[in-house]
């Protein structure tokens, strides 16, 4: 027997390459389906219903009604406008500052390593914690912000979070403080990948610093800048914890971004699950569209 039989028995339990692949992939895939894919498709389904999670009633199919209501609602457009304004201003400032900081940090000097680490600290903090302590910093009674910027003409009693003309700027300031280091980090990695000989060759050709910046530095780091902008744009569109912690969407609805509106509809005593899901789907489509625009631009930049 028994060598042959034994080898047959062994081969029966032998794990093929395909089997091994399945063994690695399926647990992950099942987990992904359960916690990611299923909720995505389920919320897509709910977005076409009038479902309320606390109503003890099955979802009733209402077609596109939720989407029509949202797109015809002035309030929803206002919240999209606030979100757009926040995203554009915040990401633009972060990109410019992040690029500038990366250019400064690139030069090695005494303590530059520690300085880089310190600059990176804000992005490592929890946004909720950041929101809470910036709330204290903005406090017109004992917060330090107004004192630090008193010289600019800001009155000491300015309540940044209670004024509709300032509250969004307060959130932008905090968002920029928190996420500029992220842009800086990506740009820095791009800058360090530029070979020195390019600059040396340009210098030999007597190219000016400005020329070197525009013709060597910018094209080299452009793909990474675009990736940073893409990530930051997506994050800014769905920004929730920071504005919620700072203003809760107020005063009134002056800083109610679309994510806060979704939260308000889904919870806070309302539990309009179908409405909230449909708004979330609209935001998802928006993010996919914006991402596609960026990725197309990124591919163009890469192709040169």
């Amino acid at each position: 027997m028994s060598n042959e039989a034994s080898s047959k028995k062994q081969s029966k339990w032998h794990l093929s390459d395909k089997g091994l692949v399945s063994l690695f992939i399926w647990p992950t895939l099942i987990l992904l389906i359960l916690v990611n894919i299923f909720p995505l498709f389920y919320s897509l389904y709910l977005s076409f219903t009038n479902y309320s999670v606390i109503s003890n009633q099955l979802p009733i199919w209402i077609g596109l009604q939720n989407f029509i209501n949202h797109l015809q609602s002035e309030q929803v457009w206002t919240y999209f406008t606030i979100t757009g304004r926040f995203t554009i201003i915040s990401v633009a400032i972060q990109t410019i500052l992040g690029f500038g900081l990366a250019l400064l940090i690139r030069e090695k000097f005494f303590g530059s390593g520690i300085l880089t680490t310190i600059i990176l600290v804000p992005m490592m903090l929890s946004p909720v914690v950041v929101g809470l302590f910036w709330k204290l910093i903005f406090n017109p009674g004992y917060g330090i912000f107004n004192y630090l910027f008193f010289w600019t003409g800001i009155p000491l009693t300015t309540d940044w979070l209670a004024r509709s003309d300032l509250a969004l700027w307060a959130i932008i300031i905090v968002d920029v403080w928190m996420w500029t280091p992220f842009v800086m980090l990506l740009v820095l990695s791009g800058l360090s990948a530029i070979p020195d000989y390019l600059y040396e060759a340009a210098a030999i050709d007597r190219a000016s610093s400005w020329f070197q910046f525009w013709r060597i530095t910018v094209p080299s780091v452009a793909p990474l800048v675009l990736i940073a902008v893409l990530f930051r744009t997506i994050e800014a569109i769905k920004s929730f914890d920071l504005p919620m912690g700072l203003t809760g969407g107020g005063p009134g609805a002056a800083t109610r971004m679309i994510s806060i509106d979704i939260y308000t509809r889904a919870f806070l005593g309302q539990f309009k699950t179908g409405q909230a899901s449909s708004l979330a789907v609209i935001v998802l489509v928006m993010i996919v569209a914006v991402s596609n625009i960026y990725i197309t631009a990124l591919n163009k930049v890469k192709k040169g």
Binding site: I33, F38, G250, G252, G269, Q270
Partner: protein, 464 residues
């Protein structure tokens, strides 16, 4: 790839089909038909589970439960959920018709939902037979337990009474120089305010950030939080005391009620109180921020729920505990005097077994006894029992109990219909912009709220 996609979609559809069940449709009328099961069906029940928010009163109730266990052998387990997720958990339990918890100490505003959707057991006969409904103050029975109001149908035992009261600095109010200066300026003696006009005068008098007295630079702290019902509870004190209301109690009409001339005046007054005299940085403030403003010595007076006053009476927390006094909300300009209701009532779930329902009723009957209610009050719970509220023992046990006892007779509440949560949102959005940022006028704000409230009520079938 296509096959995988098809597989995913199919799997999702299968999972979706296994989603929520809708065995029981929403009942539009109070589910009054669930009979109270008579004793001795409670036999065999060894444990009762009560769901409540995570705070000191729940710990006190656990102590009361331990006493019950010592007497009857039935363990009482008070399960505490943080305030932020208390309603979410309760609503999820209700949606699933879960029998995990026998009872819930639910907010007064949840009453309509609990009744209309059939989650709360009808306690009317049980209360009437045992005289429980008359053992508590009329206002607390009405707002914590009766639905619809005035119907005589009871669904919850008023357990943790609460209302918005006021704390003030006696060292400021009783300082001879300040008293003389105040009288010279306003023409009447400085004392605990009896009217809101006096409260405003006092708040203005102590608002002097550039020349604080005893470190106090601001006159008054008021609720402004817009996330749930904080600002609304603050404004309600003034609104009700101006003789205004959220709706007509008979017709449920809101147009001309929520935006009545008195309601507009009240909102203008509340705005003035905030803008003239509130500590800076309290533009989205609720109970925690109120106590902070007081403990940090910023404000001469604050409004807050009585449930949060024990911290102010504790010298370990509040350095001004020894010079802190408490008073009931003052009267409005037309003689009305009301305070906003807080607190919760104890209800029994309909979908637990008859044995557990009976055991829950046995517990409520025991808990409602006067001596147990006194024990509850001495532990720190806010009883609604009439006799205990009037007893000297209760009045003496905490410096704010006298004001609390007075408040329990003049409480008034927000909507408690199933769509109460939807009614909060327009108020928070519109009124907050006027209150803290001065956008528009009080009339415009309340007109817009009336329009949106009416639409919610029409959509819900309450109004035509």
């Amino acid at each position: 790839m296509k096959k995988i996609l098809v597989l995913l979609v199919l799997l999702t559809m299968v999972l979706a089909a296994c989603g929520p069940t809708a065995e029981t449709p929403v009942v539009e009328q109070p589910a009054a038909e669930v009979p109270v099961v008579e004793a001795p069906a409670a036999a065999g029940v060894t444990e009762l589970k009560i769901l409540w928010a995570e705070w000191d009163p729940a710990n006190f109730l656990q102590e009361i439960g331990n006493m019950y266990e010592a007497e009857t052998g039935i363990k009482v387990n008070v399960v505490q959920e943080p305030w932020g997720s208390f309603y979410d958990l309760t609503a999820a339990q209700w949606a699933a018709r879960s029998d995990t918890y026998d009872m819930v100490v639910g907010d007064s505003q949840w009453l309509g939902q609990g009744v209309v959707q059939g989650h709360y057991l009808n306690l009317t006969d049980f209360f009437v037979e045992r005289g429980i409904h008359t053992s508590v103050t009329e206002a607390t029975m009405k707002f914590y337990g009766e639905y619809p109001q005035g119907s005589g149908s009871y669904w919850a035992y008023p357990t943790e009474g609460d209302a918005v009261g006021w704390a003030y600095r006696t060292d400021l109010f009783e300082d001879p120089e300040q008293m003389a200066a105040f009288e010279a300026e306003y023409g009447y003696p400085l004392d605990v305010p009896e009217t809101y006009a006096q409260l405003l005068d006092i708040a203005k008098f102590f608002t002097r950030p550039d020349d604080p007295f005893n470190g106090v630079g601001y006159g008054v702290g008021v609720y402004t939080q817009k996330d749930y019902d904080g600002m609304i509870m603050g404004y309600e004190n003034v609104k009700f005391s101006w003789g205004a209301d959220w709706y007509d109690p008979v017709t449920f009409e809101v147009e001309g009620v929520v935006n009545s001339p008195q309601a507009v005046e009240a909102l203008e007054f509340y705005r003035e109180l905030y803008s003239c005299c509130a500590p800076p940085g309290t533009s989205n403030a609720f109970f925690a921020e109120m106590n902070d403003a007081y403990i940090s010595g910023q404000a001469a007076m604050i409004m807050n729920y009585f449930a949060f006053f024990p911290a102010l009476a504790n010298p370990g927390i509040n350095p001004f505990a020894d010079v802190t006094g408490y008073f009931t909300g003052p009267a409005g300009p037309y003689g009305d005097r009301y305070v906003a209701l807080g607190g919760q009532g104890l209800s029994v779930h309909t979908y637990i077994s008859p044995e557990r329902q009976q055991a829950s009723l046995d517990f409520i009957e025991w808990f409602a006894q006067e001596d147990v209610q006194l024990e509850w009050a001495l532990l720190g719970g806010y009883t609604c029992n009439i006799n205990v509220l009037e007893s000297q023992e209760f009045l003496d046990v905490a410096p704010f109990n006298a004001a609390f006892a007075e408040s329990m007779g003049i409480v008034k509440d927000f909507w408690n219909i199933p769509v109460f949560g939807q009614m909060l949102e327009p108020i928070n959005r519109i009124m907050h912009a006027f209150l803290v940022d001065g956008q528009g006028t009080a009339q415009e704000a309340l007109d817009q709220i009336a329009v949106e409230h009416r639409q919610i009520l029409v959509d819900d079938g309450i109004l035509d």
